[in-house]
Symmetry: C2
Subunit: 279 residues, 2 copies
């Protein structure tokens, strides 16, 4: 396994792979890897000849008051995990390599960004689409794998790829959960033991609503209230949002189309997200 | 020479060229080609193994009141000219191929766009960067050639390529002029014979200011006034702007750095631009 730190070396490696007629699968991450990331790496390996994992905590997707500085990092552990998953290359650049001091070009996917996480994090997705566009241009992948845990992100990336004609196939992998149902996330490590225990109720809430949804004609306002009550009765948390949207375009839900139920919840300072597709 | 109309065929052609270890030079145009475009094609041919010219009048860079509908088109003539310049591929897509009805991803290069042509055409450059990003992803060129006539556009594209890490070398070709000095432009055909004659005074104004600039310590406010007087005395036209900016970053001019003198002028409905680098 190679660790590449510069753009020029990454570009050269990818060019050589393509010259040889081989394909590149790509998993962009912010590091602090867990089983969820490893499932993405395994999918990339199944789809393409070579696999690149990027590890880069992208500053442009954090607002000044957010947790960029305290976002967890552990490169040595990440390196071991990537090796265990038979990754070919880790792309591990520093910020001065990625953003010039006078960087001011951004990619924006309007309409899909001003809802769900985009409401409380207004510049977040502009940062995400910009870094993903940059990484696609550097790594030149044939396919890239994203996690359904970040459902809005995955839809926005798909839309960006389609609108800007990136020659990259996007694969979205199912959410990987802890035994009690909590979606795996690098931010779970910030939970204290009581929060960690209560955080399992996020998934229970999704399951509860999914069962309700199958039973009766959905009244989303009612379901939202029930979900909030269900969650608040089980956990000391602050609900950022519970939303029901079209699972493919994030527009209001329409009859006979799959519905995304998406949730964001604060446990103390730690913001967790999760979702389920109802159909 | 091949004429390719679909994205999938264009992508496949480019992939094959790269598989063969060859390079692609790209000249994006809006058609109605003239000697200026042909000079770009010749440069692309000198830089790369194969040359692709795109002919596409991009709607997202026109405002509703602008001249999208009347922008001149003549594909048969363009085809002949491309053939005469030994172009390998014309990429000639229709708008329904390029923009999906729900397209809403845009690339924006802030700071450089809110001045010069961006003042009277506020969404123009967002349209330009977006279509160029799309065309780069479709054509996958190794180098792309732009004309210095659109100086602001060339600088913005360079900045986009650098900020988003497009693996494309950008080449900027000098302005090609008619015998009387008028910069070649597809829009020149809209000038009536009196306007056409008087339009030569744009270049005379640039030359006049360049001579003044060499003579004395530059006072740009004074030069701007003199340029406006010089031009108004020779032509019945409406000045949109006469500006002096840093020739590399479009910031206010700084000592010991090349200065771009850029001009936009209306002759009737027809807006012409031109520029010169002072040093």
């Amino acid at each position: 396994m190679k660790v590449i730190k510069t753009i020029s070396e990454m570009v050269a490696w990818s060019r050589e792979i393509h010259r040889a007629g081989k394909t590149i699968g790509f998993v962009p991450t912010m590091g602090y890897l867990h089983e969820g990331h490893l499932s993405l790496i395994r999918r990339a390996k199944a789809l393409c000849d070579f696999t690149v994992v990027s590890i880069y905590v992208n500053p442009t997707q954090f607002a000044p008051h957010e947790d960029l500085a305290r976002y967890p990092r552990d490169f040595e552990r990440d390196e071991q995990l990537c090796r265990s998953a038979a990754t070919d290359v880790i792309f591990y650049p520093e910020t001065r390599e990625i953003y010039q001091p006078d960087h001011f070009t951004f990619v924006g996917t309007e309409k899909m960004t001003g809802k769900l996480c985009g409401l409380s994090r207004p510049h977040h997705f502009r940062g995400v689409t910009t870094i993903v566009a940059k990484l696609f241009n550097i790594v030149q992948p044939d396919c890239a794998v994203f996690g359904q845990k970040d459902a809005q992100q995955a839809l926005i990336i798909k839309k960006m790829v389609s609108d800007l004609n990136f020659p990259v196939q996007i694969d979205v992998a199912p959410i990987v959960r802890e035994e009690d149902g909590l979606a795996m996330s690098s931010r779970n490590k910030f939970l204290d033991s009581k929060q960690r225990q209560e955080a399992a109720s996020i998934y229970q809430t999704l399951q509860y609503v999914a069962a309700q949804y199958r039973k009766e004609k959905p009244d989303f306002n009612q379901l939202k209230k029930e979900a909030a009550n269900f969650l608040n009765n089980r956990a000391e948390c602050q609900i950022d949002y519970i939303e029901f949207l079209d699972a493919e375009n994030l527009e209001p839900p329409a009859a006979d189309r799959p519905v995304l139920m998406a949730v964001a919840v604060y446990f103390g300072q730690t913001r967790l997200i999760d979702n389920i597709v109802l159909s």
